[in-house]
């Protein structure tokens, strides 16, 4: 667990091999843990998943919580980026 004083810029979670809703629960658990840093825009959550359904359920859930989401596709998995003010910071 990271200290609250110096949160990393990006927290990465690898959920590859897992399917929804456990990927969602894992993501939500991390989101809950780091919510202050993420809400303030200091930290971004980077979720790797190879479960296609997760690219729908995770963004749907976190948007309701007031986060921004960007989903990108890598070669063999998806990256779901969650945070605040993402558009200005991240490459599409």
């Amino acid at each position: 667990m990271n200290t609250a004083d110096t949160p990393p810029t990006t927290i990465e979670i690898d959920t590859r091999g897992q399917v929804c809703p456990s990927t969602l629960l894992i993501t939500l658990q991390q989101l809950n843990t780091h919510k202050d840093a993420i809400r303030q825009g200091q930290t971004t959550l980077r979720v790797k998943t190879d479960n296609r359904h997760s690219t729908v359920t995770i963004p749907g859930a976190v948007k309701n919580m007031g986060y921004e989401v960007i989903v990108t596709k890598e070669k063999s998995y998806y990256v779901i980026l969650i945070g605040r003010h993402l558009a200005g910071d991240q490459q599409p």
Partner: protein, 742 residues
């Protein structure tokens, strides 16, 4: 049961929840309590496991419910083992997430509230009236502005059909903007929508549901009444300005600061020959070509002069405007800067008028004054001049009397005499334009006058003269000198119109003018004299100006000839007119009223046959020469002659003669005696002394009515100076004849 068997059975019962439990009674007595305890524990364990399974099922069930709320799939049992599930604490995770969702929801709601407040503020603050209606046109929302715009409907507007509030006119509401929005589903704009005595711009915007059906409309009302009033006032003002510009007699051209034409009115178009649409944007000098009348060197660039001086410039009358077709006009121009509100010069306005005619009139007036002063001068010397002419004429007559008739000497004397008479006529012409100059009329047949004057004027000309005078021409009551002057002028003009020769016809005929005649004459008997030439004719443009004083087409013409003809004929109650076509000659026609009586003058006997005079004659004149001449002439004719130099002397001589019983048969008196008693006063006194006095008045020149109306002043006859001896004698004989005896 052995211990080993018991342990196996108990173990089996632990693993298998449905396996039968060993009976403690079958155990040895010593083991029986332990078996019973173990069975109890197993039973308890079985109950706990069952309860645990139910709890996990319940947790999974609830987690699935929560996940469904979040929007994901239910958990599959194989995906997460019960132990992992419990480690992950999904309810905690989801609960925490829900907390975040709620927090986000709260934030969103707060933001929404703020947005609502903002919208509410905008709704009220917007300068327009806003009305929101549902698809049945019932008011859903409205702002304060719209309520102020349509104050007639009091109370709450909610749910009220909008046409009850706004239009209040069934005909208007048929064309309702929102109806159109409902029909088209599109935003609709209406300009100047009349409601009552006000006008509105209306924007109606549809609000659609997800299926695209219009469920509401937002109507935006902007009161344009004052704008429309201002616009119509502005347009009225513009129209007034345009009408004013069109109506004024001056030309108006405005330019921008670079001197390019911006606007010109109708008069400016006429004077320059440019139409506004062609001239717009052109440099001023292209359109408004003005030069100094004398130097004519370059176009005067008025706009740049005005802008550099910053002041009004006036060009009073030495400026010539050259129109597009080359026509030149004298103009007076005022050019002034056009300034905006900040006193910045934004252009130049030039106002100009054609003063060609005015300048001509000014010159005419100047000319008239010059002529008038000439006339006054002529009037001043006429008396002396005519006295001198009388002396010359009289002496010529005396010379002729002593010369043999039909000799070269007699011929030369005769020519000299005629020249003297022409000199007299010339003086007369000048006198026409001095004040007075009333014709000294007498009844005469002017046949001879016409012949003589025409032939005299054509002497030395290559023009043939043809006379067509009615043999029984009625006599007229005229001043023969003046009529001769008219004929002379007409004949000279005709002669000049035929530089290469031609035919001049002088016709004279009797004519009776009826009541319905187109001639400007009162009904009656007239003689009509026509002077017709075969010359160059007169331009139609000139025909109506030809009798105007000072109008002349001749380079050295005074413009007085025809004008004096007109004046003379008018004074004789006649009329004069002209007909001509260019290249086809001209005919001047004048009418003179026929005399009511036959000429008083009896046909004069041949000059040689004038009977010798017998009688006494008193002549009064301040001019020594006249006295001597008349004395010589009359004495030569057989009269006894006495002379007097003024009225007093004349009266004394007359009284003396009366006392001596030798009354004068005739008294000839000059009308004016400088510094002494003249003829008019003298005759009054003489009539008192001798009511039967026979007096003849004579004058070189006088504006006195006594010359024209001598009879009522007590004279028997008039003899204008200069006179020829024959005329004087004829008049004396006539006065002495019985006709004049009282």
């Amino acid at each position: 049961m052995k211990i080993q068997e018991l342990v196996t059975a108990l173990h089996h019962a632990c693993q298998n929840p449905v396996a039968p439990l060993p009976d403690h009674r079958l155990a040895d007595n010593e083991l029986a309590p332990l078996v019973a305890l173990a069975v109890n524990l197993i039973e308890e364990n079985r109950a706990l496991k069952s309860h645990n399974r139910k709890a996990i099922c319940y947790i999974r069930d609830k987690i699935n419910q929560l996940l469904q709320v979040i929007g994901t799939l239910p958990l599959r049992p194989e995906e997460l083992e019960d132990d992992t599930l419990l480690t992950l604490d999904p309810i905690g995770v989801v609960a925490e997430s829900f907390a975040q969702i709620l927090e986000h929801q709260r934030e969103t709601n707060k933001n929404l509230e703020l947005a609502m407040e903002e919208i509410e503020a905008i709704f009220e603050a917007v300068g327009c009236g806003v009305l929101v209606v549902d698809e049945k046109m019932r008011v859903q929302a409205y702002n304060r502005q719209v309520k102020l715009m349509f104050p007639t409907f009091t109370g709450s507007w909610d749910g009220i059909p909008c046409h009850n509030i706004v239009c209040r006119d069934s005909r208007l509401s048929q064309q309702c903007p929102f109806r159109k929005v409902l029909d088209t589903g599109e935003i609709v704009h209406f300009n100047d929508w009349p409601v009552g005595d006000r006008y509105f711009d209306i924007v109606a915007t549809p609000i659609k549901n997800r299926t695209g059906k219009v469920v509401k409309g937002v109507l935006l009302y902007h009161d344009t009444t004052s704008q429309k009033m201002a616009a119509s006032a502005l347009s009225a003002e513009k129209e007034r300005l345009a009408v004013t510009l069109r109506s004024i007699a001056e030309g108006v051209i405005t330019t921008d600061v670079d001197g390019n034409v911006m606007l010109m009115n109708r008069v400016a178009e006429e004077l320059t020959g440019w139409r506004q649409r062609e001239a717009c944007g052109q440099p001023t000098c292209e359109v408004f070509w003005i030069v100094d009348e004398k130097s004519r060197s370059h176009c005067i660039k008025l706009p740049s002069d005005v802008i550099s001086s910053g002041d009004t410039i006036e060009l009073a009358g030495d400026t010539v405007l050259i129109a597009r077709d080359g026509y030149e006009r004298l103009v007076s121009i005022t050019a002034a800067p056009i300034r905006d509100h900040d006193r910045e010069t934004v252009g130049v306005v030039m106002v100009f008028r054609d003063i060609t005619e005015q300048k001509r009139l000014d010159e005419e007036i100047l000319n008239a004054r010059r002529i008038e002063s000439l006339g006054i001068l002529a009037g001043g010397i006429a008396h002396d001049f005519n006295n001198l002419l009388t002396g010359i004429l009289g002496n010529i007559t005396l010379a002729r009397m002593t010369s043999e008739p039909s000799t070269p000497l007699a011929e030369k004397l005769s020519r000299a005499e005629k020249a003297c008479l022409r000199a007299r006529d010339l003086t007369q012409q000048l006198l026409t334009f001095s004040k007075g100059g009333a014709p000294v009329r007498k009844t005469a047949t002017i046949t001879d006058l016409l012949k003589e004057t025409a032939l005299f004027a054509l002497r030395g000309s290559n023009v043939q003269c043809h006379l067509d005078i009615s043999p029984d021409l009625w006599p007229v009551e005229v001043d023969e000198g003046q009529i001769a002057q008219v004929v002379n002028n007409l004949v000279i003009n005709a002669d000049q119109a035929m530089p290469d020769g031609g035919t001049l016809t002088v016709g004279a005929d009797n004519i009776t003018v009826g009541n319905r005649s187109h001639l400007p004459l009162t009904a009656g008997r007239y003689i009509k004299i026509a002077v017709q030439d075969t010359g160059t004719g007169i331009e139609p443009d000139h025909l109506d100006k030809i009798f105007d004083p000072y109008f002349s087409t001749k380079k050295k013409g005074s413009g007085l000839g025809l004008a004096s003809c007109f004046a003379i004929i008018k004074k004789h109650d006649g009329s004069i007119s002209v007909e001509s076509k260019p290249g086809q000659g001209a005919t001047f026609t004048f009418y003179l009223p026929a005399a009511k009586s036959a000429p008083v003058e009896v046909p004069s006997p041949p000059e040689e046959a004038t009977p010798p005079g017998t009688g006494r004659i008193l002549i009064m004149d301040d001019e020594e020469m006249i006295l001597e001449l008349a004395k010589e002439l009359l004495t030569a004719d057989g009269f006894q002659v006495e002379t007097a130099t003024d009225g007093k002397e004349a009266i004394a001589a007359y009284q003396k003669a009366m006392r001596a019983g030798e009354t004068f048969d005739v008294v000839i008196m000059d009308l004016t005696i400088p510094g002494g008693m003249g003829g008019k006063e003298t005759i009054q006194r003489l009539r008192e002394i001798d009511p039967g006095v026979r007096a003849i008045v004579s004058s070189g020149y006088s504006t006195d009515a006594a010359m024209a109306d001598f009879v009522s002043h007590g004279f028997k006859a008039v003899v204008p100076k200069p006179y020829r001896a024959e005329m004087l004698l004829r008049i004396i004989h006539r006065v002495m004849s019985d006709t004049f005896r009282n």
